[in-house]
Amino acid sequence: MTTEAPVRVEDKLYQNRYLVDVGNAHIKVKPHTKPSPQLLALLNICPAHCYELNSNGQVEVTPDGCVECGTCRVLAEGGGDIEWSYPRGGYGVLFKFG
């Protein structure tokens, strides 16, 4: 399975409707020097690929394309790695079909 071209999630998210609450990210990663295994797992498991490693090897989140599934919360909120809430009313992903 290593031969396939990487899947571009951005192309998928482009189909969706969003109302981004600029300046009010609904997910925050706790500042850290070395990411925990839970945080690292989010790089692959997030279905909207909101988590990425920065050049210092820390995990960062950009929740603009978030589909609000809650997977990262289930994995990483308990250990204190992230803070998770729903976007303000009316903001976030706006499903046309669901």
């Binding site: 998928k12 797992a41 498991i45 289930v74 994995l75 909120e77 009313g89 046309k96 079909f97 669901g98």
Partner: protein, 435 residues
């Protein structure tokens, strides 16, 4: 913001919340329903299949104006390996009945419709409003909610938590735990649009007939998971889901799995040339009976996915959501009619009524299934599908090998993969969990 006091506040406008709001409003209760999406349905995701019986109990004449897609006449189960699938199909003209039993639906449209019925019955629905936390009195009794609107505190005798699988409010108020990675699956789904005639030709359908394909096997890369393909009128809902704990273990990406599923030679021709108009992700409660949390307390009840009520074996999430919402509404109305307070003791009626319904009976029946499938995912989702496909291919290929030898090869492949003890053990454990 809202000065008046309500008989009940319902948090969330999904299947469970809408059923609860409709049930209580129909009985003359003063209901406020709060939804964070721009309209009821805009945050909700499902496959989606709707069972008619449970909806009939809420809206007997729903077939007249509910946005239904196709009634199902065929169910296909596929066991897949890399290039093959072995299927069990059931199709019957009996399903072309006057009042069909199952339909595909599109949740954003359906939920908007069901909510309109609740509003006609008198429920007040407040959209674009996120409930931040529950208001509790000094004794811990839930007496209302705080929203993200200005001065957004509202009070009610009882709060129905229909907040969905993540159940943030319940966790925050320590009414229940956060779902565990072992007890929820992450599913991703795409909406593929095609002309109606193309869908009907590819799936052998006429009129509003529909097909469901549920697929398991190597598509989930050894994880506990399922793929699905549902036909709508002019679109196909296609997705795949696996346990969150398994994703964590394997490091697979959900969109990677989805792309591989779409490229499988059995799937690709069905969606060829389609236009994808949406990509969604959602958690599904998979823990079954053993994962059900406390369902009621002083001033609150929890319904639907937030209560982890899903019969994963029969894909009945929205069905159980609708039923638990309706039963909660009926129980609350009974307590109110007796002029009793909404205490934990009195709201236990909800749990009792749920226990007596098919909801809890069914979940009890399959209580050992999640444990079995989740722990043995390699065998049930990788090894057996490969063995079965190889066996069937061996059976249908006629190549001059004596048939007795073919059978021996097949049996040998099963035994060397799982050993006799393993095979009998798996069969026994599966039968016991099913019973």
């Amino acid at each position: 913001m809202i000065e008046e006091r309500f008989d009940a506040i319902v948090v969330g406008a999904g299947m469970a919340g809408n059923a609860a709001a409709l049930t209580m409003a129909k009985r003359g209760m003063k209901v406020l329903q709060i939804e964070r999406g721009e309209y009821p349905g805009s945050k909700n995701v499902q496959g989606a299949i709707l069972y008619a019986d449970m909806l009939e109990k809420l809206v007997p004449d729903f077939r007249e104006d509910a946005p239904l897609e196709r009634h199902l006449v065929e169910q296909r189960f596929w066991m897949m390996d890399a290039k093959s699938h072995t299927g069990l199909h059931h199709r019957s003209d009996d399903f072309n009945e006057e009042k069909p039993n199952r339909y595909t639906i599109i949740r954003a449209q359906f939920d908007k419709w069901l909510s309109s019925r609740a509003q006609e019955a008198g429920a007040i629905v407040l959209c674009e409003t996120t409930v931040k936390e529950l208001v509790q009195d000094a004794y811990g009794k839930v007496i209302g909610v705080i929203t993200d609107r200005d001065g957004g505190q509202v009070h009610a005798d009882v709060v129905v938590l229909a907040e969905g699988v993540n159940g943030l409010l319940g966790t925050k108020a320590e009414l229940r735990e956060r779902p565990s990675p072992e007890n929820v699956a992450l599913a991703v789904k795409e909406m593929h649009f095609l002309p109606r005639e193309t869908i009907e030709a590819r799936f052998n359908l006429k009129g509003d007939e529909g097909v469901v394909i549920e697929a398991a096997g190597t598509i989930s890369a050894g994880m506990t998971g399922m793929g699905f393909i549902y036909t709508n009128k002019e679109s196909i809902s296609l997705g795949i889901g696996c346990l969150v704990a398994d994703f964590q273990k394997t490091g697979e990406t959900p969109y990677g799995l989805l792309e591989r599923f779409k490229k499988h030679p059995s799937v690709a021709p069905l969606i060829e040339g389609s236009e994808v108009k949406e990509y969604a992700g959602h958690l599904i409660p998979e823990g079954g009976y053993n994962a059900i949390p406390q369902l009621y307390g002083d001033g609150w009840v929890v319904v639907g996915d937030a209560a982890q009520l899903n019969n994963a074996m029969h894909r009945e999430g929205s069905n159980l959501a609708m039923t638990s919402g309706r039963i909660a509404g009926e129980a609350i109305f009974q307590v109110k009619s007796r002029k009793d307070p909404m205490t934990k003791e009195n709201l236990a009626l909800y749990k009792k009524m749920l226990d007596d319904s098919f909801v809890i009976k069914d979940l009890k029946k399959y209580k050992d299934m999640p444990g079995l499938l989740h722990i043995q995912s390699q065998n049930f989702f990788l090894t057996y599908p490969q063995l079965v496909n190889k066996a069937l291919q061996n059976f249908v290929r006629v190549d001059g090998t004596p048939k007795l030898e073919k059978e021996k090869t097949t049996i040998k492949s099963f035994v060397s993969a799982r050993s006799w003890g393993g095979l009998f053990g798996d069969a026994f454990r599966f039968a016991r969990a099913w019973r």
